[in-house]
């Protein structure tokens, strides 16, 4: 079943158009990776879907058109974005960051607290720092916090914007492992944009290649790595 479908998605900043009509699909339970170099439009794609910038074309989520909705409606519909560069609330404590992540939920404080415990179990380093300001965490911890915060809204689809940026490969692996686990065990669907092809390809069910705002190739990870030209250009081997 298709969870997310964009058709002819366009977006940009002021007079500059960055996305030139993207068709992207994410099926229920899928991890889809969009690979692209700097400036290809990865972040713009994320922001166009999450409704934080004006966009054209259509975005359907669970068969409902959401491209006219604001960012807060998109979150309520079940799409949570982990922004590029973590985007935590630096002045707020780790716990308050997570509480803010649950802002759209209406199922009561006790189940929100239970979820918080759950993510502390997945990310023990956050549990140790639960009353510290988010701004005092290391880059890797902030990225964990950003992911946990997004998960606090109990999303159906998680958007991840370059989670590996600025992190040691080992920490990136750890994060990707958590995302994979969530996908396998809970059926969480994930749309992840990355520059770091090697790590991201491993966990992707399907991959799109993004070049200057246009999808130039798509397919399974195996199909794309079998293509010589693509392998050389994006995977470096």
């Amino acid at each position: 079943m298709t969870l997310l479908r964009t058709h002819a998605l366009t977006a940009g900043y002021g007079p500059v158009t960055v996305l030139h009509g993207l068709d992207i699909e994410v099926a229920q339970g899928e991890i889809v990776v969009v690979l692209g170099a700097n400036g290809a439009g990865k972040t713009t794609t994320m922001r166009a879907i999450s409704g934080t910038i004006p966009r054209g074309g259509t975005v359907e989520f669970e068969g409902v058109e959401v491209h006219k909705a604001g960012a807060d409606t998109i979150v309520r519909a079940g799409i949570a974005q982990v922004p590029q560069g973590r985007g935590t609330f630096p002045e707020l404590s780790v716990e308050d960051n997570l509480r803010a992540g649950a802002f759209v939920r209406t199922d009561g404080n006790s189940s929100i607290a239970a979820d918080m415990q759950r993510w502390f179990g997945v990310f023990p380093r956050l549990a140790e720092r639960r009353s510290q300001r988010a701004g005092s965490l290391s880059g890797g911890e902030q990225q964990m916090l950003a992911i946990a915060r997004a998960l606090m809204s109990r999303p159906k689809l998680l958007l991840c914007d370059e989670p590996s940026m600025g992190l040691a490969p080992l920490i990136t692996q750890e994060l990707f492992h958590v995302i994979q686990q969530l996908n396998k065990e809970e059926g969480l669907s994930v749309l992840l944009v990355e520059q770091n092809a090697n790590l991201a390809m491993h966990m992707a069910h399907r991959v799109y290649l993004l070049e200057t705002g246009t999808i130039v190739a798509s397919g399974s990870a195996a199909e794309l790595s079998a293509d010589d030209a693509i392998r050389k250009a994006y995977l470096g081997f």
Binding site: G70, D72, V75, R86, T88, D96, G101, V104, R149
Partner: protein, 308 residues
Amino acid sequence: MELFLQRLVDGLSEGSIYALLALGLVIIYRGTGHLNFAQGEMALFSAYCVYQFGEWDIPIGIAVIMGMAVGFLIGATAEVALVRPIAKKSPFAVFIVTIGLFQFLNWLDGAIWGGQQLPNTGVGSKQPRFPHLFPSADTDFVRIFGAEITIKSLGTIGLVLVITAALFLVFNRTKLGLAMRAVASNADSAKLVGIRTSTVLMVSWGMAAAIGALGGVVTAGNAQSVSQSLMFQVFIYASAAATLGGFDSPGGAVIGGLTIGVIQNLAAGYAPDWVGQEMKVGVSFLVIVAVLLFRPSGLFGTAKVERV
């Protein structure tokens, strides 16, 4: 000793008013990064309304709550109708817009209530003087260590403490407070967790003006009248209080306000020859300049640091 205590309490009481307006400035600044130049005039409009409610025989306790509601409406409307559309074009222009709002509100006061001090028997006011929130007759004082401490001073200080405690609870224990702190910390991410940032900003402006309205009513009560120039100086001291405490710290605004009130009163009281009533402004500004040289973000303000 008695004199010192008396000056101290007078200073705290005066400072409490600065604190109320400074709190409003800080709430708005945290949300949008704007200095609301019209903060004092919003409070003044509310004070004029409270005078009007008094003319309609509404007791001061109810009138002040109605005045705060009027303040909330003015603040919220200003954010939606003026600040929001302009901020999209240029953040700096917002400052100019709040100066415009300052002038507009002051003109509006004059247009509705005239240029004279109110209450005024000349225009048929029924009230003998602008009502005070607290008992303020000459006999309403308590003796502490020989010093005559007026009830209205104690009441004003208590009022600020109650408002500060209430704000603390709102910020730290409610969903609205969490949203306000999140927007202040990172507005883009606040949107991503589903917070309607525009609603939060509207409420912030409303709250700021409502709290400021209290400051306006107490100022008018102390002066026993309301007039168009009532809030000019108070606003300047309030801005100074917010600067001293740190523009992003509500607690700092309160401590900043109280500090300025106390410094002014002690300086004017103990060095009347070279400070006196006229120059007491100067002393507090000297202190502020000294503080800012060492702590540019104010005593309790946070210098923005971010690790990536």
